[in-house]
Symmetry: C2
Subunit: 272 residues, 2 copies
């Protein structure tokens, strides 16, 4: 089995911009005809733009691209299930029509806007909201995806592939000053994907740290990071011209996935 | 500065039983006269028993031991602040009376009672409750502790020590089947302590994995773990007679802390 060139059902959570947008477009160029893509984010308008980019590409292999507004900051079992189920209904497909099902978890917030050191975080609702969006929603979407796409009878005999990709961060393995919530949630998510592949070897997982990428989140990091040294570092990275574009890091991810070596929740960086 | 033998203000969260109980007793034997211990857990009766054990020990060095019922599954800023503040009021002390302030975070739930694989966890309230108890409460108590004990004017010049100890688990660094929530929360907590020491070098932190210890949590693990291989492993560990007592692992922790080498959120195991 190869990773690319399969008839694929692919969900991208956080597809409206940045790395998620680039993944939506580049992944769609590497799958087989008849594939279906489900783009999720809070704002439908931005998703529609990405959808049109996919459909108008000369190399488009998608039978259907479905743009569904879903508030990932509010993990809701029924809403998440409907969003995924409706993608099959709307495209007239069932999970067994696909050789490969992929979930890409791109959505995340930074949790840095208050400039908190961890030792100063006493705002309970702020913490809860952060983990709702960044961890609870992540767990729920993984589970909804697995429940709908995995063959219940014999998960290993169908020859179908299932993959979950977490667009992670170096912050999952090393703390950054004033980024405590972010780093702890990243560490939690890395561990959750490792758990999934350990528990269910038929589910391939990868934690991909995309490097320093010029996205809206990067601009927010430059603007709101509480630690002055880190702000300086972010500015230097931009001034150096070394910031990656989303397409650059996603091209690397596409290459990594082609090797199929990293599929058990390994933490892989752009720079590896 | 040495770790032990100081006039110490020590909070133990989860002090009513198991490792937390043993820490409460053994730590109190290693501090200087005039120390104050605050024992926190949900059940006041069990805490009162531990309090009497400390006070009646021949080597007791505590000026006061305060047992305060606090529901750690319900992170509440006011309640947490009052619990810690009242310990100073009740003992007639202020933070600057102490050479060393220690917070030991022992409280945790396993999150295994449903036998879930991560791919099956769709119960949003269950996830939220788990992270409330195991992560949000952890963050809040760290912050309340730091806010009250750290010198605001010049944190490094007072010569006073501040330490946070997370009684962690091997699950923080390696996934266990059907223990996904547990392992992800442990990974998050390890990262939070690393963040604190990075952000505030005057706060010493340590993530201590206590090994396989015969506690109520271990019995719960034997009874409720969803993965049959892991259940078998737990049973074999017990049958082998190799399970540690709480006192054994806490004695090792006391020795490790005496070396003062591991104070930047390192993950240290009983077996290291």
């Amino acid at each position: 089995m190869t990773f690319w060139g399969q008839k694929t059902f692919c969900i991208i959570a956080g597809a409206s911009r940045g790395i998620g947008r680039s993944i939506s477009i580049k992944f769609s160029e590497n799958v087989a005809p008849g594939s279906v893509f489900l783009l999720l984010a809070r704002t439908k308008d931005a998703l529609e733009t990405v959808k049109q980019e996919i459909l108008q590409a000369p190399s488009n292999n998608c039978k259907a691209v479905i743009a569904t507004a879903l508030d990932l900051s509010n993990p809701n079992q029924q809403a998440f299930n409907e969003a995924v189920s409706n993608a099959f209904t709307q495209s007239g497909t069932t999970p067994s029509d696909f050789q490969h099902s992929i979930l890409v978890q791109c959505a995340a917030s930074l949790g840095i806007d208050k400039g908190y050191k961890v030792q100063n975080i006493q705002d309970v609702q702020y913490i809860k909201n952060y983990f709702d969006f960044n961890v609870t929603s992540f767990i729920l979407l993984n589970a909804v995806f697995c429940d709908l796409v995995l063959d219940k009878k014999d998960e290993t005999s169908t020859g179908r592939q299932t993959t979950i990709i977490h667009i992670s961060s170096h912050g999952a393995v090393e703390p950054f000053k004033t980024w405590g919530l972010y780093c702890s949630a990243r560490a939690a998510k890395n561990m959750l994907l490792r758990s999934i592949s350990l528990e269910s070897p038929n589910v391939q997982t990868i934690n991909y740290a995309p490097g320093m990428v010029d996205t809206e989140n990067y601009k927010e990091a430059e603007k709101h990071t509480g630690d002055p040294e880190l702000v300086k570092y972010f500015a230097e990275q931009r001034a150096s011209g070394l910031l990656l574009t989303p397409d650059q890091t996603v091209t690397k991810l596409v290459q990594i996935l082609a090797t199929k070596k990293y599929v058990k929740g390994e933490h892989i960086s752009y720079d590896d």
